[in-house]
Each structure stands twice: as structure tokens, then as C-alpha cells.
Symmetry: C2
Subunit: 280 residues, 2 copies
């Protein structure tokens, strides 16, 4: 496995892969890798000739109040895990490499960025869209592998790639959960064991929504009200949103018509967690 | 020569060229081709295995008050000219192909877009940057050929390509002038013969600036004052800007230190003309 940190070294590798007509799969990450990331990596290894995993904690997608400075880092363990998974290339650039001093172009993300996360983290998706576009361009990815865990993020990137005619196929892979049902997230390490029990209510609420809708419930307002109540009863401190929405437009689905996605963002203690369930 | 109008057909061609390891040169145009465009085409033909000329009058770079609806069009003559030049591919998409209904992502152009043209055409460079990024992605250009005539536009694209890590080399080609010295522009057809005489004052003013600076003039304010005076004396109706600036940052150069670029945008009758001179 080759570990690259400069744009020049990456460009050299990409040029040679392209010359040899190898297909390139890219898994963009912020490090602190867990089984969720590794499932994307394995999918890329199956679908691509060569896989590049990028590790970059992107400052521009964090608001000043957010956890950029304490975001979990585990570069050595990440590299070891990617090595045993059989990844060919890791690209772990410095901030200066990604954002040189005179840098000033950015992306206005598509409309689908405005709801939900966009309301609570207003600058977040501009940062995400810009860095992902840059990473896709740097790696000239034939395919990019994203987790459904960040449902809206995947939609934003999918729409951006379509709107800007980026020659990359967006592959969205299923959520990976711990045995207790908690969706894997690098931020789960912030949770105490009591908080983890409370955090399970996100997945339990999504299970409930799934059962309700499968049983024929079509009243979006009623489903949303129950979602909020279940989360509060479980001890969630604050709900940013809990909703059922159309999976393409992300507009609230009321009445509910399949397909829908149930989306939750909520705080357990200081830790903001998100989870979702796609019902087709 | 193949004429393509759909993204699918273009993608098929590009995929095959890439598979055959052909280098792709792209000349983005709005049609109404003249010798200036053809000089870019010839440069692309020399430097690239295959050349794609795009013809698309991009609505998003025109303000409502501007000349989108009467912008000169000459598709048949354009195609004939490109054919005799030896171009391999023309891509002439419809508006719907470039901007489908649910399209909503765009580019915030780099800071260098804010001065000069950016002050008088505030939405112009966002439209230019977005469509050029789209065209570069559609064609997966190895090189893009731009005219120095639109000096700031070339700088905006060059900086965007660097900032977003687009894998395209930006090649900027010299201004082509008519025998009387007028810089070639599709908008020159708007000029009456009296107006054309007035329009020559742009190039004459740039000649004067060049002589002054070569003679040692370093007072930017004095040069700018003379530029304005020469243009007004010649009968120019309105000057948007006439300045000397640093060719990278486009900030006003006072005192003048080489390299500098002298930039003019001015109206002759209803017709807005631009011209520039790079002094190194």
C-alpha cells in the first residue's frame, strides 16, 4: 500500500493508473475509520481496479462551534486497517495541500442541501461539496463510495456530480450498525455507556417508523410526532429534526407515499448523532 | 468532423478517446466564430491528439439587461470553418442539455472575479465559471484553450481550475486583431463604420500605455488618467474601467511594477468592448 500526502505524488499515481486504463474507486473519509468506512472500502475493491482512500479532516465543513479540534484521529490504526483490507493507495494531505493560501473558489451546493442538516449546519454542505469535488478531481475517480448513514450528504454529492457533469459514478452503500443497533459513527466514541443506551433510541425510532409505514400508516404528521415523542421519552436532549421525506427532493412526505426516508438528527449529551431509514 | 449535441453522445466519444489514451483539447466558444477563435482551435490541434470545440451561448453569464437575445449566431458558417480547420468534434448542446430542469449547483468564482468585469457584470463570472467547469467535466479536457482577449475571464478560469484541482491545463493564447488594430470580437458586428473608428481608440490607448511604461512611466494614476482622457477624446460614450493592474491579482498597479496588464472596458454606442495589453 502506498501512502501519499502531496498533490504531486497523487497526480503522478493517477496519471499512471489512467494511462494503464485502470478504473479508480475513491472512498473519501475524515479518518477515525470504523466498519462503516471499511464496508465502503470493500465495495470499492470489488468494483474498481484500484482504490484510493482519502483521509482529510476538512475544516470548511465544521462551524466554529463544532468539534473540529477534538474530532477523533487514529491515523496509524486507520492505515493498518486499510492495509489489511487490501487498499492500494491512501491519500492523506495536509490542510495547506488542499487549501493553499490564495485559494478562493467554492461550490454552491444544490437545493437539496438546504433542508435538515442545511438548516442546523448552514455552511456545512458548501464545505462538503467543495472538498468532495476537489477530491474527485484530484483522484479522477471513476466511482466514489459514500455511506447511506449520511443520507443527505450522499444526495448532495450525487446531485452536485450530476449538475456539474463530473465523470464519476456515485455509489451509496448501506448503513453498518453495531450489534446493539447503533449506526457506526466516528463520533460514537464521545458517548458514555449511559449515553449509548439513549443513543439506541434513534435506531429504535426508525424501526418503529418502518413498522408503522409497513402497516399502512400514511399520516406524515402523526409519524413525525411519534418519532419526536419516542426520542424525548428515551432521554435525547435535543432534536434537530426527526422527519419522513422524499428520498430525492428531501421535502417532507405528508401524506406518506413510498419511497420515503425517515431522517433523525439529535443530541445525546453534547454529541450530535444522525441516522436514517430508507423505505422503498 | 463529428457534430454532437447530446451529453450521452459526447460521453461515448470521450470514453473512447480516453480508452485510446488520446489527449483532448477543448476550445469553449459561444459560436459566432472569428479568427480569434480559430487561432485557439489551431493551437489545440497542434497540442492535442483530438480537439473538441464547444458552441454554447450560455444564458447564465448574461445579465437581464445584456444582449443574450441578439447575441450573433452563425452555426452553419461556424461548422464549415471548423471543418476546414481540421477539428475532429463539435459539441453544440441545447440549453436543456446543459441545464436540465432540476439543476441547482453552481460555482462561486475566485476572488480575482470581483474586480473590473465583476463590478460591472456582478453575476457574469459565476455563470462563466460554472459553465466552463461543466464543459471541462463533460469533455474531460486535458487542455483548454482560452483567448487573452478576455484577460480576466482567463484568470478566473485558471484560478478556478487550480482551486478545484481540475485535471486540465489552461492555455492562454494571444489576442488576434484586425488589420486596423481592433481586437476581434463577435460583438464587433454591432459597430457602424463610424463606431469602428472610435473603437480603434481602445487599441491606440493600449499602444500609448505600452510606450509610456517602456519609457519608464511608473505613476499608475497618471497612466490611468491619460487612458480615460484618450478614450473620451476619441468619442467613447462610457468607460466601465481603464486601468493598469497586476496580471495575477488584478489589483491596481500604482506605482507600476512589471509585469502589468492594461485593461479597458468601454462602450462605443450601445456596444460594450474590452481589450487589454500584457506588459512583462
Amino acid at each position: 500500500m502506498e501512502i501519499l500526502s502531496s498533490l504531486d505524488d497523487l497526480a503522478k499515481v493517477v496519471r499512471e493508473l489512467k494511462r494503464a486504463n485502470k478504473s479508480i474507486g475513491v472512498v473519501p473519509t475524515m479518518g477515525a475509520l470504523h466498519e462503516g468506512h471499511l464496508s465502503l472500502v470493500r465495495q470499492s475493491l470489488v468494483q474498481s481496479d484500484e482504490t484510493i482512500v482519502t483521509i482529510f479532516v476538512n475544516p470548511s465543513q465544521f462551524a466554529p462551534s463544532e468539534d473540529l479540534d477534538r474530532y477523533p484521529q487514529s491515523l496509524e490504526a486507520d492505515i493498518a486497517g486499510l492495509q489489511s483490507a487490501g487498499v492500494q493507495y491512501v491519500f492523506a494531505p495536509s490542510r495547506e495541500e488542499v487549501y493553499p493560501e490564495n485559494y478562493s473558489t467554492s461550490v454552491v451546493p444544490p437545493l437539496v442541501a438546504r433542508r435538515w442538516e442545511g438548516e442546523f449546519r448552514p455552511t456545512h454542505f458548501a464545505g462538503v461539496a467543495t472538498v468532495v469535488l476537489k477530491l474527485l478531481n484530484m483522484t479522477r475517480a471513476d466511482r466514489v463510495f459514500l455511506g447511506q448513514k449520511d443520507f443527505q450528504q450522499a444526495r448532495v454529492i450525487e446531485q452536485m456530480v450530476a449538475d456539474l457533469n463530473v465523470a464519476t459514478e456515485v455509489c451509496i452503500c448501506p448503513i453498518v450498525r453495531a450489534d446493539d443497533g447503533l449506526a457506526l459513527s466516528s463520533r460514537n466514541v464521545y458517548l458514555s455507556s449511559e449515553q449509548r443506551t439513549i443513543a439506541l433510541s434513534l435506531n429504535q425510532t426508525l424501526d418503529h417508523v418502518e413498522r408503522q409505514i409497513q402497516a399502512g400508516q400514511r399520516d406524515g404528521f402523526e409519524v413525525i410526532t411519534e418519532m419526536r415523542q419516542m426520542l424525548i421519552d428515551a432521554g435525547v436532549e435535543r432534536i434537530d429534526y426527526a422527519t419522513v421525506a422524499h428520498p430525492k427532493t428531501l421535502e417532507t412526505a405528508d401524506p406518506i407515499e413510498l419511497p420515503v426516508v425517515a431522517l433523525i438528527a439529535a443530541y445525546v449529551g453534547e454529541t450530535r448523532l444522525i441516522d436514517n431509514r430508507l423505505l422503498e
